[in-house]
Symmetry: C2
Subunit: 416 residues, 2 copies
């Protein structure tokens, strides 16, 4: 894409009321626009990052057998009353609205009840299980405060998956298969080394622990105790001697850290299926309870985490896997040659943002650093005299030179 | 995909309160699930159709230079007050909600105001225009009644594009370029021949007509007068002698028809930009008004239109461009050979749903007809004896035979 055509621009300052680093950088770089606290619109570059994250999550959920659906935002009251999650006294972060005739509706904050309700059209027999259903969708939570940019949104994008199994044995297999896939997701996003499977409270309807995936960060809201050797952690909320013994963790090997929860997986037992009257028939035709699991990944939160953690004083530093464009081509008054390189990269399928604007070199370099594409490719008079282009790695700052030849440049990125 | 793994199943009957043909068929085939009237969740096959429609719309909007964004569902009151569209007495189909602190919020029904507000971060100069911004997103409208399935939703998917231009001349160029693209979208969806550009009321802030795209259908809510020769129509709402004269249309050449509005394009003049205080500086540094256009396509409505129109008494008939799968492979107790064909088609990138279930042939044929994939490929004992597979075209009913050889079958679909 040509930057002269991009309708967004970088901004010198973020909004005064925006205190989080991730939102400040993303707003200044023109990736997001703040609607209200915790509610952000995605501009073209921001949407490309979000879609790249979604794509990775979707590929991994499909690989583990997940079937993608799209549930609704508007929610009828009756299914939530059956599980006692409608009343604001029980669930305090609903957004609610009304039909013209006065009927109350919820604005979807999670989707256990509607998923069970939808699945009840189709699930009858033990032969129908196991299966996994997921969606990547906007969720709405009426948070009292929302000051962390994309890290805690009132409107945010989440992947939520739900499994349906005939018994605990089948459930445990599905559960561990999906947890294994979670590692792949965080690895592909470049967060694998600093993200820990973390034991946490499982909720009131199961004796088991839930699992959180916590990415280490000073801005994290959670305190976790990390066992580096075992690559495992335990959330402060269940950090008792009894639980440590149960988990085989040794206090002396644990280090307290701050973490951001980027995913979680829960054993739901048969709480929701029983409450909504969904059962299956076994081989003998007898009615049995269904065991559910649920599995979340904070998709827009991950974008915030990466913006927050992979940045320096000049701006954003996107990992290649999710960058809006892989290459930022900067033309310093050499648009003709740069255009040739741009065309060649585009034709070869290398995603490139071409800064063809009539602004000075300083502005181009500063904007490129702020926007954070992994590679900056500089076409300048000086470089052309030396018959080469300059390639800067945004993350390391390392500079290389490539011969001034479109096919050489294409080859460079194809082999990289 | 293997049908034995698909968690949805066909159903004998639709819901009792579902009166529309499109929703009845889509529910029976397991494509959608009704949450409340006008609010449907998309099951795996339905989501595949929806995503295929989105893909076509997205490709065409990108081809015309559109820059994709994602605006928010939660809407702050202040920007809508500036255009006098907040008050329920003015706009009667808002869903509204509240923050914990009592602050009123809207649930997005359209996005002119937030788009202008976002664009105001970046747009200063005549040099910044023209440009086009679009999104494909859920919209929420508090309709009094919603009995038409996907044809009129309370929660629905829409593509809305907005153009920003420095004057009417530039606006007219952008506007006609986008209208031309609309024809391409409807052509690709197989609706081109029965969809008419239709002059309609332009609203109170422009003397110009708007354009609707109306697909002919008996279940349409609109009456339009069609000039077949000119491939143009006029909406009943502006069907006056004065307007006919203005448009060069002749009453004697017009035929009254029922239509479903599948798209619309409006001249917004500078109503929204002026109201929100967004202007640009011209070459002389003087402040000027910005001319906007907006351009909608009803994405989920199109799915409903196609389900409604492309169907027979046996079920749905998807056009190849948007079918969930191109081929429905039916194995009549010949799973081993069918598996081989399935693997070969998958490897060649031909999208195939493999009915490997242990049910009788009659059930498989009835389900395949109801679900409506374009081609049914039948592997049976009889066909195997004749060393061939049977290929039925769902739309025409025509039957062909292909030699029982995976590479022959793959070649057939690759060349088709």
């Amino acid at each position: 894409m040509k930057q002269s055509k991009l309708f967004t621009k970088t901004q010198k300052d973020a909004l005064k009321d925006e205190v989080s680093t991730n939102a400040q950088l993303l707003i200044r770089a023109g990736f997001i626009h703040k609607e209200i606290a915790g509610v952000y619109a995605y501009m073209p570059l921001g949407l490309r990052v979000l879609e790249n994250i979604k794509k990775i999550v979707r590929e991994e959920m499909n690989a583990v057998g997940g079937q993608e659906v799209m549930m609704t935002t508007l929610q009828p009251k009756d299914i939530w009353e059956k599980t006692d999650r409608w009343d604001d006294a029980k669930v305090d972060n609903w957004f609610k609205t009304k039909l013209v005739n006065g009927t109350e509706l919820g604005v979807g904050l999670t989707h256990e009840e509607p998923i069970v309700d939808a699945v009840s059209n189709y699930l009858n027999s033990y032969k129908d299980m196991p299966f996994a259903v997921y969606q990547i969708q906007n969720k709405f939570r009426n948070e009292l405060r929302a000051k962390s940019g994309l890290l805690r949104g009132r409107e945010f994008v989440m992947k939520d998956m739900y499994t349906f199994c005939r018994n605990h044995e089948q459930h445990d297999q599905e559960y561990e298969k999906i947890v294994a896939t979670y590692y792949k997701v965080y690895d592909r996003l470049g967060l694998g080394a600093i993200t820990y499977r973390t034991y946490a409270d499982g909720g009131i309807f199961t004796p088991r622990f839930s699992d959180e995936f916590q990415t280490l960060s000073e801005v994290g809201e959670d305190t976790i105790y990390v066992d580096e050797a075992k690559r495992i952690a335990i959330n402060e909320e269940i950090y008792t001697d009894e639980n440590l013994a149960k988990l085989g963790l040794n206090k002396s090997e644990l280090v307290a850290k701050k973490g951001i929860e980027v995913g979680n997986t829960f054993h739901l037992e048969s709480k929701y299926t029983d409450a909504l009257g969904l059962y299956y028939k076994d081989e003998k035709g007898e009615k049995q309870s269904i065991i559910m699991g649920c599995y979340g990944i904070g998709v827009s939160r991950l974008m915030g985490v990466i913006a927050e953690l992979f940045a320096d004083d000049k701006g954003l530093i996107w990992p290649e896997a999710i960058a809006p464009f892989r290459v930022h081509l900067l033309s310093l008054n050499q648009n003709e040659k740069a255009q040739e390189i741009y065309d060649a990269l585009n034709a070869a399928g290398v995603e490139v943002l071409f800064d063809d604007r009539e602004v000075n070199a300083g502005v181009k370099f500063a904007d490129a650093d702020l926007m954070g594409m992994p590679f900056q490719l500089v076409v300048s008079e000086k470089n052309m005299r030396d018959n080469r282009v300059e390639l800067k790695n945004r993350k390391t700052g390392a500079v290389e030179y490539i011969p001034l030849d479109s096919s050489e440049i294409v080859k460079y990125f194809q082999n990289k």
